[in-house]
Amino acid sequence: MKEISLHVLDIVENSLNAGATVVEIEIVEDSKKDLLAIEIRDNGMGMDEQTVKKALDPFFTSRTTRKVGLGLPLLAQAAKTAGGDVTVHSLPGQGTVVKAWFKKSHIDLQPLGNMADTVASLVAVHPDVDFIYRHVIDGGVYRFDLRQIRRKLQDVPVNNPLVVNWIKKFISDSLKEINGGAE
């Protein structure tokens, strides 16, 4: 993966494969603490303790078409390379929480990349899932709640190409705003 936002997309796909109907994505950028933290919470089917342990092993997957599952191991590798790590907490029937953190100033930190594209892509192909996305940049907070947008749209589906395009722009404009206009 070239950007952290692509890891986020990939990890959320795991949540959706686990039957999640609500997925919360949180990104926190904190310059003072020199920290970039990511948290993905879902209400999918969850995993037992043994499966959680295996989830970080590249030779484990719940899929059957191919014998290796690389999503979480790739994220863990990216985190460890940049002075951080990954944890996975899960309970069967209750969902999963994946946390990853990185040292923001680390020379090997991948760029965060385009979170607007990641969220817009998820909405486009999973219109029935409630995505909530919160992004904090040094105290500036942006919150995106697909449920509010769905209510506003009434009978127009959230994956209509016009709407997906609007979501992309809405998120990227808002992130610029909380980032003080900087990219």
Binding site: M1, D10, G69, L153, F170, S174
Partner: protein, 125 residues
């Protein structure tokens, strides 16, 4: 904050615009489907930009009767990003090693003009 309010106002306009297009085509049957491979392999090969390029091209052309969905890894990771085009009553066509530019051309040539772009279709193995 002003930006958010302006954006929400825009969303209302988009709702009206989208509604007009949808009303023209009420039949849910016989829709063309585009399926993008979004497993770990697809995502790392560029599937996100492919998906967004397809949606953008559909938007530009005012096409709202095409369903865009995703699939996971199908075990042919070296051909990712892969895109299936399934037109009603026609066999599925699978495009391989697609990028954003090819994706736009697939919409123009295959979806709009009904011509399969043979050179990008999966090789017979």
């Amino acid at each position: 904050m002003m930006g958010v309010i302006k954006s929400i106002e825009e969303l209302e306009k988009i709702r009206e615009q989208a509604r007009e297009l949808i009303n023209l085509r009420k039949d849910n049957e016989n829709k063309t489907r585009i399926v993008v491979g979004m497993g770990t392999c697809g995502i790392s090969a560029g599937a996100r930009q492919v998906l967004l390029a397809i949606l953008d091209e559909l938007k530009k052309r005012n096409i709202s009767d095409v369903i865009v969905t995703e699939t996971g890894c199908i075990g042919m990771c070296r051909f990712e990003p892969m895109v299936d085009v399934i037109k009603p009553n026609q066999p599925k066509v699978t495009y391989v090693n697609v990028d954003a530019d090819k994706a736009r051309q697939i919409v123009a040539r295959h979806i709009v003009n009904n011509q399969v772009v043979d050179e990008w279709v999966i090789p017979n193995i």
